[in-house]
Assembly symmetry: C2
Homo-oligomer: 554 residues x 2
Amino acid sequence: MAKKAPKLKIIPLGGLCEVGKNMTVIEYKNDIIVIDCGMSFPEEEMLGIDVVIPDSSYLEKNQEKIRGIVLTHGHEDHIGALPYVLQKMDIPIYGTKLTLGLVEYKLKERGIKNPKLNIVKPDQTISLGCFDIEFIKTTHSIPDSVALAIHTPEGLIVHTGDFKIDYTPIKGDAINLHKFAELGKQGVLVLMADSTNVERKGYTMSERTVGTTFKNIFMSAEHRIIVATFASNIHRIQQIVDAAVMFDRKIVVSGRSMVNVAKVAMELGYLDIPEGTLIDIRDMNKYPTDKIVVITTGTQGEPMSALSRLASSDHRKMTLLPGDLVIISATPIPGNEKGVSKVINQLFKKGVDVIYEALADVHVSGHACQEELKLIHSLIKPKFFIPVHGEYRHLKRHAELAKELGMDEENVFIAKNGAVMEFTNEKGRFNSSVTAGKILVDGLGVGDVGNIVLRDRKHLSEDGLIVIVVTITKEDGKVVSGPDIISRGFVYVRESEDLMDEARSIVKAVLEECEKNKITDWATLKTRIKDALRDFLYEKIKRNPMILPIIMEV
Amino acid sequence: MAKKAPKLKIIPLGGLCEVGKNMTVIEYKNDIIVIDCGMSFPEEEMLGIDVVIPDSSYLEKNQEKIRGIVLTHGHEDHIGALPYVLQKMDIPIYGTKLTLGLVEYKLKERGIKNPKLNIVKPDQTISLGCFDIEFIKTTHSIPDSVALAIHTPEGLIVHTGDFKIDYTPIKGDAINLHKFAELGKQGVLVLMADSTNVERKGYTMSERTVGTTFKNIFMSAEHRIIVATFASNIHRIQQIVDAAVMFDRKIVVSGRSMVNVAKVAMELGYLDIPEGTLIDIRDMNKYPTDKIVVITTGTQGEPMSALSRLASSDHRKMTLLPGDLVIISATPIPGNEKGVSKVINQLFKKGVDVIYEALADVHVSGHACQEELKLIHSLIKPKFFIPVHGEYRHLKRHAELAKELGMDEENVFIAKNGAVMEFTNEKGRFNSSVTAGKILVDGLGVGDVGNIVLRDRKHLSEDGLIVIVVTITKEDGKVVSGPDIISRGFVYVRESEDLMDEARSIVKAVLEECEKNKITDWATLKTRIKDALRDFLYEKIKRNPMILPIIMEV
């Protein structure tokens, strides 16, 4: 009797071998659920790109099978691609209250009407097709994060979402370790777990430790305190609020995303600000400087953020003064180090005091370090393990950690986006792959900027551009106007007139040569001009601008 | 009686409020000496720029006063601008043997003929004009680094150069603390000290600790070992060599700068490789894989470096194999984190083992941490202090450290490049400033790329370019050819034909409107085209390409 093909498939469409745009398909026969739907920020070489989203063509092809998108938490790398996916497909969304509060706001902003949002509480189980999905309380740098226990006909899949093990969270319960223990006892087929901090030894400290630092700093601050943090880190904001209240300071919230998230969080009961504490930024000057705390955004040195504007004296509603204290309550995300350093330098130059992670414990991570991961692995005791949420180096290290805990190498799957992993209750294997990739969003254009456009942008960014225009007659290809040369981003033309004159002579010579030899074919003409000019410029100045010859015919 | 103006001036021309391009003028009446002459790497916004050098116009203006350039050590940020400065002025250079060995190689490469290079030994004193300059042995991440004690008619200036306090260096003497103590006892007017690591508590570990790690790693490595490090870190290279010899491995040196520096260092006696140990890269395969160590460059993820080429299977002479071990013996310089991470991921994907700083102690810094700085300040006991070699945040923190050690606030000078500080044996003050700044080098062009060119490159890099060409008649401004539209880096044209057609219609409409209204002035025409097209594109796709209208006349 022929063995049946395995029916349970796990297909990551984003989030593997990268940090960001998390999206995973769980498929069994005619049922698909999607875990998370995130965006990522552009890589350095993606010039001019605003955001990157996962290629969702596999979802489009299998649209009729999709029972829902299940969200683990409300960070952009888990919900940010929803507006784009929902524009194409009307799929019901499941998530916890705060997660959906943030999603709702985002979808409204992007003009997505009547999304099907379904609030699920931790400990609750929902049924989507053949899947029963249990939401499990975890702790992370945003409240209301959950892990998912997905009961499938072949066995149980546990997806941790992003998590850390915080025994003393600021609000609400600690991570539900009992549930993880129970699931482990029942038997877990596949574990998918957060790999972000797998290179770090030990434990991530509790969010509460930051509150202690805040109180110590607030105690001795003599003027205004400005704390920058991630808008979504509502427990961090709560701790800033608590410290402010303790020292009888009024609170100003500044920065668009901070105002929005704080509003949603307060409405939904995730952020408590005592009445009378919150004041409008315009009323700030009515209070003594030692009675003010400003909570704002811009920890990553983003040029348009409130903190960067404050640092460069470009904030419309507030001016920093010597003696003010700025606390940057975050770590630079890799790639943002120089931008953050620039802001710190600008702030110091203003005579402002600045406290950042190198100087005090004003930040903790939201992700589990090695000892926390070992705890989760040991409780869950999965048959198969797929490290997720990380670059290849993290996935690999996480796979090693699983092996150190006794897992068989062949039961650990280091996958890439689009890989199809198939499971029975006994076996797991890679089997082919589906379309997965990066879709670049630039302005309103989704996917219209690809490698060719990016290559041109890179070329233009490095050495600029030279346009040569010449008008010739239709009949005999005689030059009647030009060649005119225009350059941008190449040299400072006013100081390089000789060079540009020489360049024009080169083009003229090429045209004359071509006329003499009766070459009138445009393609040949253009190539000759391009080659001659490129060689000349490289020889002369070792630069390689983009050269655009344009021939007009009259 | 009128008080005489102070005659001793210290003028930093680079290296303050930045990391890189260190250059400082010490001036007394008709004598100038210049300490160091470094380059820096371009900031992110300096698109297409190769290197940045200090504006040396102050030196050019005072050329006849300059008695020499005195070098503290051979790192690029201290010697890299020499070819550019020596092209303009023929100034004698003073430095230690290895420093000048590296300088000589660099100048030869750049075609500077017969430079006046003068080797000075540590403990030796040279006289340049009214200055007596003592070279003092220090320890740093390159051998033969020195501090300078500059005896001036007003008092003693001590410049630490870049340093750490290494009691157990790999080769040669430890830092000459006795000399610092002695100078402190004599009385030091001004201290200028390295601020790089002032934010770090404690001590920088000895270079020797890295050797221990190497030996432990080499002991258990089963195949080839590839160690990437900075070419100039010759003591690091020596330790790799020592570990290789200990485990009976042959050594291959790969990467252009590594080969060159190793050659200079061996010739001058700074690097000892036992005979028969060094083999050619082409002979590598004649030995078992567990008998090979490759020393190479590319710790910063530089795309053209040997390590990056190995990681992307683009190295002409070597291919990495599963089981090979790569050690990245360096820390990413801020801004290079993502590039380095990319290389690590590529290496892991090849099945290569990778050890980097997050995983083992394979690197130590070359700069002094807080406790080392406190020791130097305490030995020197200067009257005035100028923190150097750092961003503003570092200078400020270093100034605070000096104050914590008991210095008067008014005796500490946080300066910027170009600031003129004047000293008598009793007083110090800021007095005006001179030209200082960044000169951008792009290919062979030095200083011909400025803000306008960079702004255009940035604009082009973000949204690309649209060129509109139209040919009109001289007599009546009638359109006889075009408008033609060419775009680059804007959209993928083949998939955006409708958009481009619409854009052409917009331009046509503008031209017709202008013709109707008898507008033939080119500037007006161009502005109208630009405005109409910009508004249309932004409305349609929220992008803002550079728009270049070109009008040809026949």
